[in-house]
């Protein structure tokens, strides 16, 4: 099933002397760092990716003369990463179970069109309920998610029960879903969309902003910090109950503080990005706030696409690590025969991973159409490549059984950072593709070498 990429497992044991000695040097130089990380029980791969991302950000900031690390750019980066990151969380589970989904971009287009039709044509005209109903956005979103789960699940059914390789099934899906878009309105653009629905894209309509605003953002940050602390305490208690070793207290506090700091830092950046001046003026007029001579500074806060991405990340991470479903996905990826002999319903599990990514494609479709305020025929074109790249840069292995959801999120941010940074440096689009392509191969190649050294 799926495709296999030469890299790990298959090439195990092959000598690679020049790289090895280089890796050895790096490893011995990093030994103190890895030792501290081990005591902190921090995933070294994840830490390495964060370090790589930091390097990319600092590099672009220097090259762009300080425009990369601005609240404005980072806020836009977060919104641009969100729709790919949302689908990448599901792609992790699909690839971990030794499959692939090439159809996410086309599914996204098809689902985006369906949702646009739902809110712009079917609810207001076909059902005669009129435009701009308060329930339009949520009904539309539900239609998209249910349909996404259905068509993703249908592909998964053919893969799991029909025994057709997922590469083929989803390659077919890539063509079919894209082609079906033209059955709606002969490929015309569907616009405008419901104004509440548009908020999902993080844009502004009049004085309404697709972001949390200042205090709700801080509240969300605080809630996440409390959740992190609670999770740490629960984990310590569970381990303590069985007398297992726990992190030293200083390490626990350090890890918690770092996670919490990252959350609050993100909120701070989002709140440092003001609403556009014209929106701020409108907002001031509406709320009777006098506009000072220097202009108004109204914090935007965390964009809704990012809030959605955070929610999706939490849910999929929970499914992947805390639920049987996730355990089975990883077991199937590690050894499908063993999973079946352990009594796991392998086919059902695989079908569900495809249903999950289908519904996530719907969520991403909502974000993208809302942001565009339209459904266009090119919606989601080539997104499958970005999504797969994000998962793979995030450490997901095509050999199966290995990959994490947070890694894929980081992978999506790395990809988007490269593109966004190159745009700031006025690099043309074909060159961007060349750079991203090379980075993808080099990142996975390095990872394979390091992994071989470790095992």
């Amino acid at each position: 099933m799926g495709v296999s990429v030469p890299g790990e497992a298959t090439t195990e044991g092959q000598p690679a002397p020049p790289i090895r000695s280089g890796v050895d040097t790096v490893r011995s130089a990093l030994a103190p760092v890895t030792d501290v990380l081990r005591r902190l029980e921090v995933d070294t791969r994840l830490f390495g990716m964060v370090a790589a991302l930091a390097l990319i950000w600092i590099g672009f900031n220097v090259l762009s003369g300080g425009t990369f690390l601005t609240a404005r750019n980072l806020w836009n980066l977060s919104v641009q990463s969100a729709s790919i990151a949302i689908m990448a969380t599901g792609m992790v589970l699909v690839i971990v179970s030794r499959n692939i989904d090439l159809s996410v971009g086309s599914m996204l287009g098809f689902l985006g069109y369906t949702m646009a039709m739902t809110q712009a044509v079917w609810i207001p005209q076909s059902l005669g309920l009129g435009l701009e109903q308060p329930y339009t956005w949520i009904l539309t979103l539900l239609v998209g998610i249910v349909l996404g789960a259905a068509i993703g699940g249908a592909q998964g059914f053919v893969v799991a029960y029909g025994g057709v390789p997922s590469f083929i099934v989803t390659l077919g899906g890539l063509l079919v879903w894209r082609g079906l878009i033209f059955r709606y309105a002969q490929g015309q653009t569907i616009a405008p969309l419901d104004t509440t629905f548009q908020m999902l894209g993080g844009g502004t309509v009049g004085t309404r902003v697709g972001a949390l605003g200042e205090w709700p953002s801080w509240t969300l940050g605080l809630v996440l910090c409390i959740a992190i602390g609670y999770a740490q305490i629960t984990s310590r208690r569970r381990k303590g109950r069985y007398g297992f070793p726990v992190r030293p207290l200083w390490a626990e506090v350090l890890v918690g503080a770092a996670a919490c700091g990252a959350v609050l830092g993100t909120v701070w950046v989002a709140n440092s990005y003001p609403l556009p001046p014209n929106v701020a003026v409108l907002y001031a007029q509406e709320h009777g706030i006098p506009v000072p001579p220097g202009g108004l500074f109204i914090p935007t806060g965390i964009a809704f696409p990012v809030v959605i991405m955070l929610g999706v990340t939490l849910v999929v991470t929970f499914l992947a690590t805390r639920r049987r479903f996730g355990r089975y996905v990883y077991a199937i990826g590690g050894n499908p025969d063993a999973a079946a002999l352990a009594g796991i319903n392998v086919r059902r599990t695989i079908m569900l991973t495809f249903a999950l990514i289908g519904s996530l494609a719907a969520v991403s479709a909502a974000v993208q159409t809302a942001r565009l305020n339209a459904a266009v025929t090119s919606l989601g074109v080539q997104n499958e490549l970005d999504v797969i790249s994000a998962a793979v840069i995030g450490g997901t292995s095509f050999a199966g059984g290995i990959g994490t959801v947070p890694g894929a999120i980081l992978g999506a941010v790395v990809m988007q950072s490269l593109r966004s940074g190159m745009v700031l440096l006025l690099v043309d689009s074909p060159t961007q593709d060349i750079v991203v392509g090379i980075v993808l191969v080099v990142a996975v190649g390095l990872d394979a070498v390091v992994r071989r050294r470790v095992s």
Partner: protein, 270 residues
């Protein structure tokens, strides 16, 4: 001399077998892998299942473990006919299997493998701490030096991986155990450990089908020996009634000892 399907020495005649496979047939395409085999197993007994490569031993055992339901034939547990359509149903009947391949998910750690498909949960989420605690106990019984409960089993030695596979089979209060070549990949010390374990499990009243190439292992551990040849059952013999040569004759020539000629026996010795 040949006493097919008679109870094991020391068991009361007429006692109902723990597990009975009756007239089992399995075919792969046109190949008849198992053709009308009947064997049984009593509580507290080890039955050796031997035969050459492709004799159908593993396929026969897979019908009992639920990995490959038989095309026809009957499986009885405690005298009651049962349907075993998948591994889960076999496990529900107390039939556990240690596969020759070990059937481990290499990317998961020992507790995840031991509880694969039967995870412990606390309020609908996986209770990894409880699973690790239980795994420490059961593996500690098999191999006190086992320490790597958090690493993927891929990184463990052959003996440690074997311990994980055995732990998975014995943790859930198995009544019948299928061990397919349990010592094939092990060194002498680890083999001795597994032998000791088999004797201990037997004394606890567990019935064991021991599939093996190693005729000496089988003689060492079993009460009865069922010999298969090209998908058929040559016969089931009491260990005390036969010599290793006679069993070798059954394995290699597919004939019961009574039908072996002096010349054939001589040829076995080269």
């Amino acid at each position: 001399m040949i006493t097919p399907t008679t109870p094991a020495p020391g068991t009361a005649p007429g006692r109902v077998p723990l597990v009975e496979l009756r007239n089992i047939h399995v075919a792969f395409g046109g190949v008849r892998a198992v053709a009308g085999v009947t064997i049984d197993l009593h509580a507290g007994e080890v039955v050796g299942v031997v035969g050459g490569n492709g004799a159908g031993k593993t396929t026969l055992m897979r019908t009992l473990s639920g990995a490959r339901p038989p095309d026809s034939g009957q499986i009885l547990v405690n005298g009651q006919p049962v349907a075993i359509g998948n591994p889960r149903e076999a496990k529900a009947l107390g039939i556990e299997t240690i596969y020759q391949t070990l059937a481990l998910a290499d990317n998961l750690d020992a507790p995840a493998n031991v509880f694969l498909g039967r995870e412990l949960e606390a309020a609908t989420t996986l209770d990894d701490a409880a699973m690790e605690s239980a795994t420490r106990k059961v593996i500690g019984r098999l191999n006190p030096n086992f320490k790597n409960f958090k690493t993927p089993v891929l990184r463990l030695s052959g003996g440690q991986r074997q311990a994980v596979a055995i732990a998975r089979a014995i943790h859930f209060n198995a009544r019948a155990l299928i061990m397919d070549e349990p010592t094939a990949a092990l060194g002498p010390a680890e083999t001795a450990q597994v032998h000791a374990l088999i004797r201990q499990l037997k004394s606890e009243g567990i019935g064991i089908f021991l599939v093996s190439h190693d005729i000496h292992d089988v003689f060492d551990l079993s009460e009865r020996i069922s010999v298969m040849y090209h998908g058929r059952l040559v016969g089931t013999v009491n260990k005390n009634d036969v010599t290793t040569d006679e069993v070798l004759g059954m394995i290699i020539l597919g004939k019961p000892p009574t039908k072996l000629t002096r010349q054939e026996l001589a040829e076995l010795h080269g």
